[in-house]
């Protein structure tokens, strides 16, 4: 009997297996081990966490394949890695290494200011960021099998993550009130593929798994995003820029499971040490914001 690989069902299926979980940014194999032991459902292998990318400036690129492979060799959970927006050769390299998911990410410096990668052309699945429903459905149209709301990476300030999650959820609720004859105009106004608009209305949710990202620093932040309706949470700088990464990582994992149980959340929020210092998004100049990258 034939086996079919790289179908959309197996690409989006892995994202479904990540649901209710926490995906953690790690920069060394040791971090990856800490993340796995804390209960991460996947890790994102990169050279610098977003807070350091922000602090260092310069061009941020795909990580060294050697670092990614060492992290892949260390943990049994899925390993993701980032490529620049539109940089399909970085994506080809990541596919050749055998990463489990590619994040075409605004956290790195974009390589193309008009076009994203044609993700249908790859065997490896992609996750992409969004700030609104139109952006999410454009990425799915290009082949993304998973979406994350962008938030503002490397800040420890959850306000943009909330804004983007509320925007996407609000637009889906609005879409469901529209009669079918208004869906084409909705697609046109939002720059979204019509067929995916129709499907989103029918499902009452995005057609692929949707995680929150960008600014989650505490168990309460993670549970907030879950209560707003996302399927899981990415934590970037929030863990390894905090005082006690292992403890905080484990607490955030528990918070995503018990997001609707304030008594459990109170218990796991105790004595976690210092959260990452963080930076108010409102104090960051417009041209240093990452979420605006993506077309």
């Amino acid at each position: 009997m034939d086996q079919q690989v790289a179908t959309f069902a197996v690409k989006s299926g892995l994202a479904q297996m990540l649901k209710g979980g926490v995906i953690m940014d790690v920069v060394t194999p040791e971090h990856a081990r800490i993340a796995e032991d804390a209960g991460a459902c996947a890790v994102m292998a990169l050279e610098r966490v977003p807070a350091d990318i922000r602090a260092n400036g310069g061009v941020a690129r795909m990580s060294d394949p050697d670092l990614i492979e060492r992290i892949m060799a260390t943990v049994s959970i899925p390993v993701m890695a980032k490529c620049r927006i539109g940089h399909f050769v970085e994506a080809q390299i990541l596919e050749a290494i055998g990463v489990d998911y590619i994040d075409e990410s605004e956290v790195l410096t974009p390589a193309d200011e008009a076009h994203h990668i044609n993700k249908h052309a790859f065997k490896v699945p992609f996750v992409c960021g969004c700030r609104n429903l139109g952006e999410a459905l454009r990425r799915v149209g290009e082949g993304a099998a998973m979406i994350r709301t962008k938030g503002e990476a490397g800040t420890g300030d959850v306000v943009e993550a909330v804004r983007h999650a509320r925007t996407v959820m609000g637009q889906i609720r609005h879409l469901q009130t529209l009669p079918d004859e208004e869906l084409m105009a909705f697609a046109k106004e939002n720059g979204a593929p019509y067929e995916l608009v129709v499907e989103t209305k029918r499902l009452g949710r995005l057609p692929v798994v949707n995680f929150a990202a960008g600014g989650v620093a505490t168990p309460a932040d993670a549970a907030l995003m879950m209560q707003l309706g996302v399927d899981g949470v990415f934590v970037g700088s929030g863990i390894f820029k905090s005082g006690d990464p292992a403890k905080r990582a484990a607490a955030i994992v528990k918070a995503v499971t018990h997001y609707n149980d304030p008594a459990v959340l109170a218990e796991i929020s105790r004595n976690l040490g210092e959260a990452m210092v963080g930076r108010n998004v409102t104090s960051i100049p417009e041209n240093e914001l990452l979420a605006g990258r993506g077309w």
Partner: protein
Amino acid sequence: MRIGVLALQGAFHEHQVMLERLGAEVRQVRLPAHLDGLDGLIIPGGESTTIGKLAVDFGLMEPMKAFAVEHALWGTCAGAIFMAREVGRPQPLLGLMDIVIERNAFGRQVASFETDLDVPALRHLNGGGKAYHAVFIRAPLIEAVRGTAQALVALPDGRIVAARQGRWLATSFHPELTRDDRFHRYFLEMVQSKSER
């Protein structure tokens, strides 16, 4: 019938949708008290290390083992790993079924696949004659079945991808990711059967 779905992490909602479509009452299980009054339990796909750690941290290991003595359990993918006695690396396991699992046996995500399977155990169900289309995601293999555990489904090359031991079922693929509800109906039959293991 009231079926629990372990909701620590993974694709528990997908199982819930399938079960509710079949008329079962479903409860998400996150704490030991959530097991009370259930007729059966599904452990979904997800990451087995994550599910195992959370099960330990929230005191679910012993209550689930005790529940399993009297009830039907079904683990898909990570759930199958969690129910096995041996997986070849240290991680928390319920250790119920006499099966040996190899994790990520087919390789990384780019090797994940779909295929049609011949499943004799489903033949008595509606639509039972047709092939079963199965989705494998970074899937484990059942390397060996021992004791009273029996192989239920194999790939054409003979490698085992589902096993049953009394009222315990393990599948390395994901019926909850398809629209074919035969495996869920098969499990509900197991829940209703009072047969001895």
